[in-house]
Amino acid sequence: MPDVPFIEIRHAAKSFGALEVLKDINLTVDRGQIVAIIGPSGSGKSTLLRAINELDPLTSGEVWLEGVQINKKLPHRQYEKHVNQVRQDIGMVFQHFNLFPHLTVRGNITLAPKMLKGLTTEEADRLAEEQLAKVGLSEKIDEFPSRLSGGQKQRVAIARALAMKPKVMLFDEATSALDPELVEEVNLVMKQLAEEHMTMIIVTHEMDFAASVCDRVLFMDQGVVVEEGPPGVIFQTPAHERTRNFLRKHLARAAGQA
């Protein structure tokens, strides 16, 4: 499918009553591309990300993945089936990890592959070992999440998402809830994914990380994409006043923290 975009969002709009959180957003992402979405809180960046896998369905507009419309209008039962199917191809990592506390690390990683892909226990265990090795946590396989640090939890959450062999990974402020000293270990895992050409869409507050890893940066404010471009352009020579303001404030805050 050479002329079908990998991911395409067309005229995405979403409102809660009178409040418009997304206004006519258009975005295409190529296979292997890494896109960062930055912007002030309330700008709609998380909502846009969550629209991609139908966690927050759009009010209007379309989301496509490899020529399949994700937010198809279907009768309830068919819609549920369709969404459950397409979500298997879209990995998501959350700010608060959302690991299942009643399952071990192994159980967290193997649950979905066993239930949805029919893997045997042995196959799923091997998969869990593989994915854990990748995020550097092999020795934690039989621990419960309550025994892990925040950084370790997030790495397990990434391994859990990767175990479904997704076509794209969505990161929703994956390091925002972490203590500063734990951010780096998660960033390293994400960098490693970038080197393997995983397609990623990353909502983040970490400009340095976005600058060093991403191919494109989108700056969103008040429900619109104000501007987008390569990180060098967005961070060094942004065209819009709003972008400059945001980056200036952000830099000041980051400097204040350091």
Binding site: N84, F94, P101, H102, A112, M115, R147, A161, M164
Partner: protein, 218 residues
């Protein structure tokens, strides 16, 4: 007539057998109330109205009427419509359903208290609503509900004395039999109380162990 506890050891075996029946009925009714409680909770929260309404009516009936009456109805009443249950089975069903209604209330609250992120985490992986409920939400809700449900189980143990009225030879009825032969109510009711106390201690110890075991997985 003074107190004479020396007659109690003569009926030691009878009381022990009574204890065994009490334990059996508590375990049976406890398990029934646990699983039916989960079922009722899920129906109450997610069921279609055509099943939700009957369950609500049923819950309302079982909470609003005496357990004793419910046992009479199940044991004596059902015979009239051709359902002749052994006393033990009738006792387990009566106690089990009664406590299922209380457990269901607890489980409903604890299902609603499971973090929304858990639901999102599971759905994002591709799990359906039902799969998410079964494998992610309910197991967590059940773990959270162990301490308060433990209190219900202790209440169940004590209320199991009521099945003596339909002829299950548990601790209370065993004591009554001993009394009818020896005319020593004080001694045997006290002995029966001691039996309940011991079973209760064991139950509490078991519950504490269970709580400790699940502590890491919460």
């Amino acid at each position: 007539m003074g107190l004479d506890f020396t007659v109690v050891p003569d009926y030691f075996g009878v009381l022990m057998l009574g204890g065994a029946w009490t334990i059996a009925i508590t375990i049976g009714a406890g398990l029934l109330s646990f699983f039916i409680g989960i079922l009722f909770a899920v129906i109450a929260l997610y069921g279609h109205w055509s099943v939700r309404l009957p369950v609500r009516l049923f819950a309302w009936l079982f909470m609003g009427t005496p357990l004793l009456l419910q046992l009479f109805l199940i044991y004596f009443g059902l015979i009239q419509i051709g359902i002749d249950l052994p006393a033990f089975v009738a006792g387990v069903i009566g106690l089990g359903l009664h406590f299922a209604v209380y457990n269901s209330e607890l489980i409903q609250a604890s299902i609603l208290a499971v973090d929304k992120g858990q639901y999102e985490g599971a759905r994002t992986l591709g799990l359906s609503r039902g799969q998410t409920l079964r494998r992610v939400v309910i197991p967590q809700a059940v773990r959270a509900v162990v301490p308060p449900m433990g209190n219900n189980m202790i209440a169940l143990l004590k209320d199991s004395a009521l099945v003596s009225v339909i002829g299950v030879m548990e601790i209370t009825l065993a004591a009554q039999q001993a009394i009818s032969r020896t005319y020593r109510p004080f001694e045997f009711y006290l002995a029966a109380a001691a039996c309940y106390y011991v079973v209760n201690l064991a139950l509490e110890a078991g519950l504490r162990r269970l709580e400790r075991r699940i502590a890491a997985s919460r």
